[in-house]
């Protein structure tokens, strides 16, 4: 117990649980007890309304604290790289490169934008993870699951292209990033079947004309 806790009049048993009731983290039994007390005690109900305000403002305060820069991620993986290797899987250099790429697209951004971008990255990572697990039943790298068929192109996206735009682009063209970025360009594989030279040429022309693409050229 600290100086902060040394007070004379403590809370009642139910009163003490009100903040957790507001946060929704009580057990079903405790919730039932608290709700019954709230229904029968107007003073407790008034305090509960105050607590709900506190909770809402605490959430708002924390959400406004923003997010860390990519420096923390870089530092972490730099340290991990320096650790002794272990285990069977050394997955996903690709994800690291993607993370670094998207981190580099925009300046350090505190707030919702950064959080949303990282969420999108995580969602994609999650999808890849699930795919890896489902396909292999064990551990494989993401890149090892990529088939070799399909048309490949070097693609450079506009510097202000968002993660959502790039994701939509990949979905629209049935594309997947298989390597990069190198010199700001990704190797993207389109589809899973080989196209004729003419069809491939038309596809690359279409990709090149996309409004988030600044460069596209066929590659092996």
């Amino acid at each position: 117990m600290t100086a902060n806790d040394k007070e004379l009049a403590g809370p009642g048993d139910i009163e003490a649980l009100l903040p957790w009731r507001a946060a929704g983290t009580l057990s079903a039994e405790e919730t039932r007890l608290v709700d019954a007390a709230l229904a029968n005690d107007p003073a407790l109900a008034r305090q509960y309304e105050v607590i709900k305000d506190e909770l809402a403002e605490t959430v708002l305060l924390n959400e406004n604290l923003g997010a860390p820069s990519t420096r923390a991620l870089e530092k972490l993986f730099g340290a991990i790289d320096a650790e002794p290797a272990r285990g069977a899987s050394q997955a996903s250099g690709l994800m690291a490169r993607l993370g670094a790429f998207f981190g580099g697209l925009s300046p350090r951004t505190l707030g919702w934008a950064a959080a949303a971008a990282m969420l999108a990255l995580v969602l994609q990572a999650g999808i890849i993870t699930n795919a890896v697990v489902k396909q292999s039943g064990g551990y494989q790298t993401a890149s090892s699951t990529v088939s070799t068929a399909g048309t490949r192109a070097l693609v450079k996206f506009k510097s202000d292209a968002t993660f959502d735009q790039i994701t939509a682009f990949l979905v629209a063209y049935h594309g997947s990033v298989v390597a990069g970025p190198q010199a700001g360009m990704f190797t993207v594989k389109f589809g899973d079947t080989a196209l004729s030279a003419k069809d491939a040429e038309q596809l690359i022309a279409k990709v090149k004309a996309d409004n988030i693409v600044t460069f596209a050229a066929a590659t092996q």
Partner: protein, 189 residues
């Protein structure tokens, strides 16, 4: 957090224990913002909070094999964060990080008095939340923002369950006092 995500977190920890960097990235992406915000509320310095999250997740990388799943991964992360934040505060106690005298996180809100004049009680409340002691900030955040149960807070803060309840109660009373000083009466206590 849903039971599904908790199970998924545990699965990630299992893979991290085997050296799976992708699993590490997913876990980092899932939790780093909340870890950062918890650290920032404790140490009040963005640079220090960023350094801390790298250290926290490096600990996860190193210790994943020892994680026994007795608590949620998010609870484990916050406990590590708290430990490292307090260590950082102790190291810098006489310097720029002194808990009570440090320049607070850049605070864009009005002072409580100005907020009251603007009839913005939410703004005043947020301002007063930043003025709580470190222990009170910590428990308020863990319960209201990180949605931790009584038992989980006890585990993270290393205090008995009953102390968790009373500490939050007194944190709330202190908050009410700060608001009262600013001219805001909320009908409690």
């Amino acid at each position: 957090m849903s039971a599904t995500q908790a199970a998924s977190d545990e699965s990630l920890i299992g893979r991290i224990a085997q050296g799976d960097r992708l699993a590490m990235q997913v876990l980092y992406g899932r939790h780093h913002v909340r870890v950062y915000r918890f650290a920032l509320r404790l140490v009040r310095k963005e640079q220090v909070a960023e350094d801390l999250i790298s250290e926290v997740f490096l600990d996860v990388w190193r210790q994943a094999g020892k994680f026994e799943g007795r608590s949620a991964v998010s609870t484990w992360l916050l406990a590590i964060t708290r430990f490292k934040a307090l260590s950082a505060l102790r190291k810098k106690r006489d310097a720029e990080l002194d808990d009570e005298t440090a320049a607070a996180i850049e605070d864009t809100s009005d002072t409580p008095e100005v907020a009251v004049a603007k009839k913005d009680t939410g703004n005043a409340l947020r301002n007063c939340l930043t003025r709580l002691s470190r222990e009170h900030r910590e428990i308020v955040d863990l319960v209201y923002y990180h949605e931790k149960s009584v038992e989980e807070v006890a585990e993270i803060a290393g205090i008995p369950v009953n102390t968790v309840k009373t500490r939050l109660f007194y944190a709330r009373k202190k908050l009410a006092e700060l608001l009262k000083e600013a001219g805001i009466e909320r009908g409690w206590p």
